[in-house]
Structure formats: structure tokens, C-alpha cells
């Protein structure tokens, strides 16, 4: 006979369907989604994806999805009003889904004006927080945005309470905070378990990092070394670039020349002026030291 506590426990496990894939932009989120998608599908295909990245959950800031599920046009609402409905939106997604959801997030962890967390604890498995050296983020994010110089991007990385979009037509506002705030807001909250993964460690040993993520999320593939090797091989950077050159990539912004551009680490130190590097390390030095980024 099942005891009451077992039933409650089962319900909690059943309700907790959402893995948040959180990152400041251009920190390996898409690569991670491709890796997880490949791991879950365990396909023998050599291509990194077929039509699109096949991972249930999409991005937390999708405006069309918000509009469809709430029945309200987000473009007629203020960003604060949208944030009031976001927790219930994600609960609705979790309720309607039979499977685990992997939802991409650029927001930092924050509350709405009703003091409710945007990302509800009651549906959360955990958060994989992807981190990348902010100097490399500055370079990658500038190319992604079609910007010719890096000053504006560095300003965004440094600006307290920075947010993305909001007045954009396809994405909801995402309060990222500055680069350090993004990290601290996710790691200082205690409601949702967080696994921190550095992009640089993914480059150095992709399989080990994917294995950590899988174990953290409780995926049965966590101990399947062959499946992990296959998933990593399918998502090699040269394969991502080749696939994008051949078929395009739907997540590429129209202004960017390509989505999978360089992928390597250390570019920030080579390309950014000494002044911009100093501006980043002045602002984020404390957290960079914690994360092992030397300067």
C-alpha cells in the first residue's frame, strides 16, 4: 500500500518537469541544447540536428508562446505585466507536457512585481548555469548583434540591471542584470538547485561536462558513455558550422553573418582593447576570480 508521504513525493517528482538552461547570452546555451538533444535522441545521425534543435521547452522569452498560452498580446502589455503572468505560463507548460522540458533562459533569477519568482520552484528540476569569460562573451555577443565595435556590448555586460528586448517584437523582456549579477542572482537563490558549468571546461572536456549535466538532471543516459560520446561527436563545432553553412540556422539573428562563428576561448584577450578589458575586469573581477578567469 502506498503511504501518503510516498504519494506526495511522487507528485512532487511528477510536477517538477523543467530544467532551466540559464546563461548570459553567447555562453554556450545553444551548444548545450544541441548536446542534450543528441544525448536524449541517441540517434546515429552524423548531423548535429535535422530541421531544428529537437529539445522540448524552447526559450523562456518566446513572445508567440506567451501570447498563445495566455490569450493576451504581450505587445499590448508592459514588461512588468508580462512578468506577472510568466510563472503561471511556465506552470501551464509543465502541466501540459508529458516529458521533461529544457527551457533556455537569459534572465537572471528574479521576482516579478508581485514578489513571485519568475521561475517557479514547484515545477523546477534544477538550473544548469552556463558561464563564459565575459571578455569572450563581449566579442561573441558583438558579432551576434551585428555590431562592428565592442564598446556597446561591454557597456551592456557592465550595466547593472541590464535587460534584453522588451520592446522587441519576437522576445519578451529578459532581465539579465550585468554579467556578475546574472551569476550571483542564480547562485545565491536557494529554491532551485544550480549546476554551474564553465564554457571553457566544455571546450576542454565536453563529454565530462555533458555527463555532469545529465547526472544533475537525473537523466538515465548519464552513465551511458557511448551515448555521451556520440552526442558530443555530433555536436563538434566544425559539424555545427558545416550544418549552418549547408542549411542555415533558424536561431541566427538576421543581422549576424552566422551563428556558429568561432566558438573558441581567449578571443577577448586578443581582440578587445586594453581599456575595454580593464573596464570588464574592474566591474567583474571579484566574480571572475571566483570562477577562475585570470587577469
Amino acid at each position: 500500500m502506498t503511504s501518503m508521504s510516498d504519494t506526495e513525493n511522487d507528485k512532487i517528482l511528477t510536477d517538477r518537469k523543467v530544467a532551466w538552461l540559464a546563461s548570459y547570452p553567447k555562453s554556450g546555451n545553444t551548444w548545450t541544447r544541441i548536446l542534450l538533444s543528441n544525448l536524449l535522441s541517441n540517434s546515429n545521425s552524423d548531423e548535429p540536428w535535422s530541421d531544428k534543435i529537437d529539445l522540448a521547452g524552447s526559450i523562456s522569452s518566446s513572445r508567440p508562446r506567451f501570447d498563445n498560452i495566455t490569450g493576451l498580446p504581450s505587445s499590448d502589455l508592459t514588461a512588468d505585466e508580462v512578468d506577472i503572468l510568466r510563472p503561471e505560463l511556465y506552470r501551464s507548460l509543465a502541466r501540459e507536457s508529458k516529458n521533461r522540458l529544457f527551457i533556455k533562459v537569459h534572465d537572471s533569477y528574479h521576482l516579478n512585481i508581485n514578489n513571485e519568482p519568475i521561475f517557479p520552484t514547484d515545477i523546477s528540476i534544477g538550473t544548469i548555469l552556463l558561464i563564459r569569460d565575459p571578455r569572450d562573451v563581449a566579442v561573441s555577443y558583438s558579432h551576434h548583434s551585428g555590431r562592428k565595435n565592442f564598446t556597446k556590448t561591454v557597456k551592456h555586460l557592465n550595466r547593472s540591471n541590464h535587460h534584453l528586448s522588451g520592446d522587441n517584437r519576437s522576445q519578451l523582456r529578459q532581465i539579465t542584470g550585468n554579467w556578475s549579477e546574472h551569476y550571483t542572482r542564480w547562485t545565491q537563490q536557494t529554491d532551485i538547485p544550480v549546476l554551474v558549468i564553465r564554457y571553457e571546461d566544455m571546450l576542454a572536456d565536453t563529454a565530462a561536462q555533458l555527463q555532469s549535466m545529465a547526472a544533475f538532471l537525473g537523466l538515465e543516459q548519464a552513465n551511458d558513455n557511448a551515448a555521451i560520446r556520440r552526442a558530443v561527436d555530433r555536436a563538434r563545432f566544425d559539424k555545427l558550422q558545416a550544418k549552418e553553412a549547408k542549411d542555415g540556422f533558424m536561431e541566427k539573428p538576421e543581422k549576424a553573418k552566422r551563428f556558429f562563428r568561432s566558438g573558441r576561448s581567449g578571443e577577448g584577450k586578443e581582440v578587445l582593447s586594453a581599456e575595454l578589458q580593464k573596464s570588464i575586469t574592474d566591474e567583474h573581477g571579484d566574480i571572475m576570480r571566483v570562477l577562475g578567469y585570470d587577469f
Binding site: 493576451l72 499590448d76 503572468l85
Partner: protein
């Protein structure tokens, strides 16, 4: 019949649904009143619970985070309620949007999320996800001489077919962002919200027609070719059968309400009826504002090629492409 139902209201609703408004004997009454927190559970009647709305066969309850609540009942009334200090404008915006959509479903009319123009008796509508550019393209086509028909909502009567699908304009005024006003030469009205700095405005299109009924000739689903550098800049691709039903399902106005009020079977039956009589196509074009005119030129040329004699029935066209 120029409108599918008539409306009376105890508040000023502007020109947005002007063809529907009458002073007496209206089919639908819009009035202030008490809106409950939740729909009452009557017997074992099923209630559909959404994020911020509830629906059963007879009633629909909607809460908007600007402090406005609506109760839409039996296809014959919309009751609104509001927090202290919330203006008529704030009420009307969502009343003539989401609550209006729920009313259509209750009256067995299918609202599509579409804007469009009319040529003769033939309505050519543009649909797509939020932000796809439906309003801007339709308003810009009106600026090129086509008669503007509807913005945001196209009301389709799938029962009244007679060889073609009858459709009605859901809203005569546009809602446009500031930059889109400049791209379309539409006349700027007041901001859609009371909130300071809200950059979206009501607007009257150039060549705004009085016509509010027509036959639905085509539905173009707006997309972007941005992901694929090798793709042509502008292209139209005819959709057929199940493929077009699936695409149209994402073009329904407030799809969650359709499921809550109608259910899946009724919705897909209605969509199946539409594709019997309407040309459905993907219309992909560049999405950056700098390239807006390329898509506009393409749409204009395509519409000009649709002779009125051809437009009352499904259009027989091969796929059309402009190479990059």
C-alpha cells in the same frame, strides 16, 4: 449582411468596431458589471482552466494584469470590471481584443489572427505569429492603393459558405509601433495604453475602406527567410491539405480560447472547411526593417496578379520565388 452580429455598449469604443455598433436591439451587450473571481462549478460541467482565464460551454472569464476583468456569456454579453483608476482606454483595448475573440467563439465564428486588404469582393489576409508583421504589411499595402479590410482579427463564418468563405473585418483601426507608422503613412491616433512611454498607437490606414464583409480568397502565412543565407529573399509556397490545416491552426486568434470554448475537434473541422475554399500559402520575406520594401513589392505584385474573377475561388498558382 455587413456584420455577423450587432453590438451596443455603455462606453465609447471609438471606430474600431464601428460597423458592429447599434443603439438598440443589439445581439451583444457590452456593459460594466461585477465579474466573479472564478466560474461557478455547476454539476459535473467541465471547466477549462487556463493561465489567466476559465471557460465552459456558456461562459468565459478573463483576467488581464492591467486590472481589468471580463465575463463573456453565451455569445450575447461582455461584462467588464476594473480596479480603481483604470481608464476606459485600458478596458477597451482588451475588450476589443481577447474578450472579442472569446465572444466570436461563443457565437460559432472563427476569429483568425490576421490583417488584410480587399480587392473587389475578395479578401486577401496575412497571418503569422505575434510580431510577424501582419498589420504593417496590410497598412503598407493600403498605402500602395489597396483597400484596407481588417487589422489583427479576421472573423470567419465557416457555416455560411455558398461556394466561398464569408469573412468580416474584426477591427477597422490599426495598432502600430512608432516605426511602423512611418513605414505605412498611417495616421497616428492615441497610444494604445495609458502607460507613459508606450510606443504603440492606434492608427488609421491610408485608403481605409468602409467595407466590412467579403469572401476570403487567400491567407498568406508570414515568415522570414533569415535563417538560411541560401534561400530566396521572397517566396510564396502553396500549402495544401493537412499541411495547410496545421499551419492555419497556429493562425487562429487566441488558440487557447478556441480549445477551451470549442475543443480541438470543432476547431479542426472549421479549419478543414476553410481550406476547401481558400488559397493558403507561406509568404517568406526578409524581416529587417531596411528590407521591408522588398517583401512589400513582392506582395503588391502578387495581389495585382490576382484578377477579381479568380479571387472568389481558390487561386490556382504555382509557387512563386524571387531569388536572392
Amino acid at each position: 449582411m455587413t456584420v455577423p452580429f450587432t453590438v451596443s455598449a455603455d462606453m465609447q469604443l471609438g471606430d474600431r468596431i464601428k460597423p458592429f455598433l447599434v443603439s438598440e436591439n443589439a445581439d451583444v451587450e457590452i456593459r460594466a458589471g461585477k465579474v466573479p473571481e472564478a466560474l461557478p462549478q455547476i454539476g459535473d460541467e467541465e471547466i477549462f482552466f487556463g493561465t489567466n482565464y476559465q471557460a465552459n460551454a456558456e461562459s468565459f472569464l478573463l483576467q488581464v494584469p492591467n486590472g481589468v476583468r471580463f465575463l463573456v456569456q453565451g455569445g450575447h454579453s461582455i461584462i467588464y470590471d476594473r480596479d480603481a483608476g483604470v481608464s476606459d482606454r485600458e478596458v477597451a483595448l482588451f475588450l476589443l481584443g481577447s474578450a472579442w475573440g472569446a465572444l466570436c467563439y461563443q457565437r460559432d465564428l472563427l476569429p483568425l489572427h490576421a490583417s488584410g486588404v480587399i480587392i473587389g469582393n475578395a479578401v486577401h489576409a496575412f497571418t503569422g505569429t505575434s510580431g510577424a508583421g501582419k498589420s504593417t504589411l496590410s497598412a503598407a499595402l493600403a498605402d500602395r492603393g489597396f483597400v484596407f479590410f481588417t487589422d489583427d482579427i479576421l472573423i470567419v463564418d465557416t457555416k455560411n459558405q455558398e461556394g466561398a468563405i464569408t469573412c468580416y473585418s474584426g477591427q477597422k483601426d490599426l495598432k502600430l509601433w512608432k516605426d511602423a507608422l512611418e513605414m505605412t503613412n498611417a495616421a497616428k491616433g492615441q497610444a494604445v495604453r495609458d502607460v507613459e512611454g508606450f510606443d504603440k498607437f492606434f492608427a488609421t490606414p491610408v485608403n481605409s475602406g468602409d467595407v466590412s464583409v467579403g469572401h476570403l480568397a487567400s491567407l498568406s502565412i508570414l515568415g522570414s527567410n533569415k535563417s538560411d543565407a541560401n534561400a530566396p529573399k521572397c517566396s510564396m509556397t502553396t500549402l495544401k491539405g493537412g499541411q495547410s490545416v496545421l499551419k492555419l491552426a497556429s493562425s487562429v486568434y487566441r488558440p487557447a480560447f478556441a480549445l477551451g470554448i470549442w475543443g480541438r475537434k470543432k476547431l479542426y473541422t472549421a479549419l478543414g472547411d476553410i481550406i476547401q475554399h481558400v488559397h493558403v500559402q507561406n509568404f517568406d520575406r526578409p524581416f529587417v526593417p531596411d528590407s521591408f520594401n522588398e517583401g512589400l513589392d513582392f506582395a503588391e505584385a502578387w495581389l495585382n496578379a490576382q484578377a477579381p474573377s479568380k479571387t472568389d475561388s481558390a487561386i490556382a498558382s504555382d509557387d512563386i520565388v524571387v531569388e536572392a
